[in-house]
């Protein structure tokens, strides 16, 4: 693979299967929204969204099997800093009533 090198492209059927998986995830999350799960409604919705986003990042954006390993580190660091932003902000706002 010297010419076009190790591109991580997969078969057309594979991409369509991932797409169908994402549509099933969407249908599941819509269905779950109409069931009263109490505090678990947002958790389930965000869990499904995260699974869908992970599928898109790994397979559609070709991060899984990327020849440049640094790409994976950049992606993880991006979401890591987002996690810091949200967790530290909420650590403030959620504890303001503790007195």
């Amino acid at each position: 693979m010297s010419d076009n090198a190790a591109h991580t492209s997969r078969s057309q059927g594979f991409y369509i299967a991932i797409g169908i998986g994402l549509l099933v995830g969407t249908a599941t999350t819509v269905g779950a929204a109409f069931v009263n799960l109490g505090p678990f409604n947002p958790i389930i919705a965000l869990l499904i969204a995260t699974i869908k986003a992970t599928l898109v990042v790994l397979f559609f954006m070709h991060v899984k099997g990327a020849s440049e390993k640094l790409t994976g580190a950049v992606v993880v660091s991006g979401f890591f800093f987002l996690a810091i932003l949200i967790s530290l902000s909420l650590a403030d706002y959620l504890t303001r009533s503790w007195r």
Partner: protein, 235 residues
């Protein structure tokens, strides 16, 4: 690393798109994709700030945010989610077609992607029109008389707090829609260039990087949809 010594000469001859400061086509492609990802990380942080603001205000004004959220159409939101997911599939198939050097298939997928993007924007337009009709646009004419339906129990809400929900709704979906408009423009240009034969199996980096952008915009919607439309239906 790649076996660059062996392939440098070969590529210098074979691939006119290979710039001289890269060892080989793979390294050039990896560098472009890494740069694109660095840009996408700044986009994640940009939207992340708005997501964080939404979470903080939703926790502070839960009933008003839930009441505002219950005014959105799940059917239209879910339709748009499906449209975006299908467009992501056509984008990844476009990249595959570019890699295989199938010019007409590539142009076809790019055009379908633009059409799906415009479908998304049209549905969004209908949703925005409904907000205008209901006076749910933040500003002097804003009106909100709905109550929060907590499993049959009607709880009145402060319209000022509901206005905050709609401000964030328009900021987030509006900024997302702006990204969609930019994406449609980008893919239209790429479709013309692809039709003229600018891309080959040895060079299709713009298609790949525009694809990365489109997928990220899709991911942002994957989070916007449950957060804005879904999580306040039953809780």
């Amino acid at each position: 690393m790649h076996d660059s010594q062996a392939s440098t000469m070969e590529h210098a001859v074979h691939n006119p798109a290979l710039l001289h400061h890269f060892a080989d086509a793979q390294q050039q492609k990896d560098a472009a994709s890494l740069g694109m990802w660095l840009f996408l990380v700044t986009e994640i942080m940009f939207f992340g700030g708005m997501f964080c603001a939404y979470l903080v205000y939703r926790l502070a004004h839960f009933n008003a945010f839930a009441a505002g959220s219950q005014q959105l159409s799940i059917a239209l939101g879910a339709t748009n989610t499906a449209v975006l997911i299908i467009s992501s599939v056509t984008v990844v198939l476009a990249v595959k077609a570019a890699e295989a050097g199938r010019r007409k298939v590539l142009v076809g997928y790019l055009v379908v992607t633009v059409l799906l993007g415009m479908t998304f924007l049209a549905v969004k337009g209908f949703e925005y029109r409904e907000k205008f009709e209901k006076h749910h646009i933040p500003g002097p004419t804003f009106k909100f008389t709905n109550t929060f339906d907590d499993n049959g129990k009607q709880i009145p809400v402060n319209p000022k707090e509901a206005e905050l929900f709609f401000s964030l709704y328009f900021a987030m979906t509006g900024m997302h829609a702006l990204h969609m408009i930019i994406g449609c423009g980008l893919f239209s240009v790429l479709a013309v260039l692809a039709w003229k034969g600018h891309y080959s199996p040895g060079y299709f980096t713009p298609i790949e990087n525009a694809g990365l952008y489109w997928h990220l915009v899709d991911i942002i919607w994957i989070y916007l949809f449950p957060l804005l439309y879904l999580i306040s239906r039953h809780s």
